[in-house]
Symmetry: C2
């Protein structure tokens, strides 16, 4: 099946939005790309770099007549954007988002979709601590997982097109229930961010000068603390129920180690480290 989203609009031209634009252009999946954002300087640079053909600070201008609208702002403003653009949307157009939370947000967006416009939630696993267009590249999604989270109400034709879109740009697509998505990514992505930010702030709390003694281990462990505070604030707030539960489990793991440390229970500590190491080893072999 061939797909072409004639006019594609990117709402929030950052790492993911810009990379998707570049990838779609490279694979011939659209005719023109239009950008919306808050900072004109960024949009102008995106145009100069050939990521978008035109831009506007007016959402209406960017979205009317669009065949595909990509929400790639921080997740906290998706609902507001959808409400704002609803009156101008063309019948048959498709909205996707590329946010790192799905869950109830997917149902909330779905609930306000105008008649004849279709929404598909997607999450390309290609984010990083980088968030700007300077790191955008068309190959970003190649070999990366992309989770698509349809619901019972999802339009099957649009789902098929969006599935194909992500495959064409190189992703391995997996369909998943929106709530399950947030449970899983809460554990393997959102919780690690909270931990990395907290670990860096622990050094700040003790003595911020100690940071200069950090070696490669600390750098790796806290690299994701360089991620955009705005993007991650929205993500953790949306997924807070899973996160609060996950934090309890994580604190339970710390508690075990604390007790064993207090009593110098050397073998028990080794067993805990060994169990973690065995599980972590599975990742290297995939």
């Amino acid at each position: 099946m061939e797909i072409n989203f004639d006019k594609t609009s990117i709402i929030g031209v950052g790492l993911i939005g810009a990379s998707l634009g570049l990838a779609m252009r490279k694979k011939g999946l659209c005719t023109s790309i239009h950008g919306f954002g808050r900072r004109e300087g960024n949009l102008l640079r995106a145009k100069e770099k050939g990521i978008i053909d035109s831009y506007s600070l007016d959402l209406k201008k960017v979205c009317e007549d669009s065949d595909l609208i990509v929400l790639s702002t921080p997740v906290g403003v998706f609902l507001e954007i959808v409400k704002n653009i609803s009156p101008y949307l063309k019948k048959g157009s498709i909205i996707i988002d590329v946010g790192s939370v799905k869950g109830r947000l997917v149902y909330e967006i779905e609930a306000i979709m105008p008649e004849g416009v279709f929404y598909i939630g997607t999450h390309p696993i290609a984010g990083s601590d980088k968030s700007g267009i300077d790191d955008a590249r068309p190959e970003l999604f190649e070999g990366a997982r992309c989770i698509i989270t349809p619901t019972d109400k999802t339009d099957r034709d649009s789902l098929e097109k969006i599935n194909l879109l992500w495959q064409k740009v190189g992703s391995h697509v997996e369909l998943m229930d929106p709530l399950k998505h947030d449970e899983i990514y809460g554990a393997v992505s959102h919780l690690p961010h909270i931990i990395a930010y907290s670990l860096v702030n622990t050094i700040g709390e003790i003595n911020h000068e100690y940071i200069k003694y950090a070696g490669q281990g600390f750098k790796d462990t806290t690299r994701i603390a360089l991620s955009s505070p705005e993007l991650w604030r929205d993500i953790v707030i949306y997924n807070r129920e899973n996160l609060l539960r996950l934090l309890e489990v994580f604190k339970g793991e710390l508690k075990k180690l604390e007790e064993f440390l207090k009593n110098s229970e050397s073998e028990a500590i080794k067993d805990i480290f060994q169990r973690a190491r065995d599980l972590r080893h599975r990742l290297q072999n995939e």
Copy 2:
């Protein structure tokens, strides 16, 4: 000043011990290198790779007549080894260790040093999740920090020689109080290990199948959970007092985020993330 440790003995031929041997040989800092270890297969391979000239499973044979003895086993057996080899040590010989904890261990080792034998505690910041001789290389210490932890009793002549040794193999040497060392490295190295192991075990606790959804962020954050459980068991037990204190501070940071999450205090969460990001940024600029 020129230095040459005629006969050098490496007790525990792993990543650090083997790399130091290779570096010393390359820089002409010794005449011959002898290895002791628990596993003959590993020692044989070290000999075949040209890391050591000879080996024995008998500590006495390896250490007698040595000019330099390098303790590079897990830190938990340093004291036992020193006790065992004390009767055979040559007058004027120097013992160094390359362990990741110093603190009271330095004073404990110092206290059992035989007359005329000198001990210097050192910590090359060049460890990784790798721990075997296959990753050993003479350049491992080039550009890396090496902390040396003298005490009031440290022999100044030996200190000068060991300082020079680490500089000759490419390290940036810094002298530090042994207790201060453990406070700092507890924060920037030992605590991150405990956290990384606990994070991986959290996934194991929730659903170990979720690990396959982990992206680059999770991989980086938990890379150090691949580190040797034996080495790290000893390190965290020796530094447990600092670690228990550090864990309290870390849990305090988690607690702040939890409270803000419960109340969806979006700006407060962003501020916390921003503070961490600012501090973490300092590392990239050094």
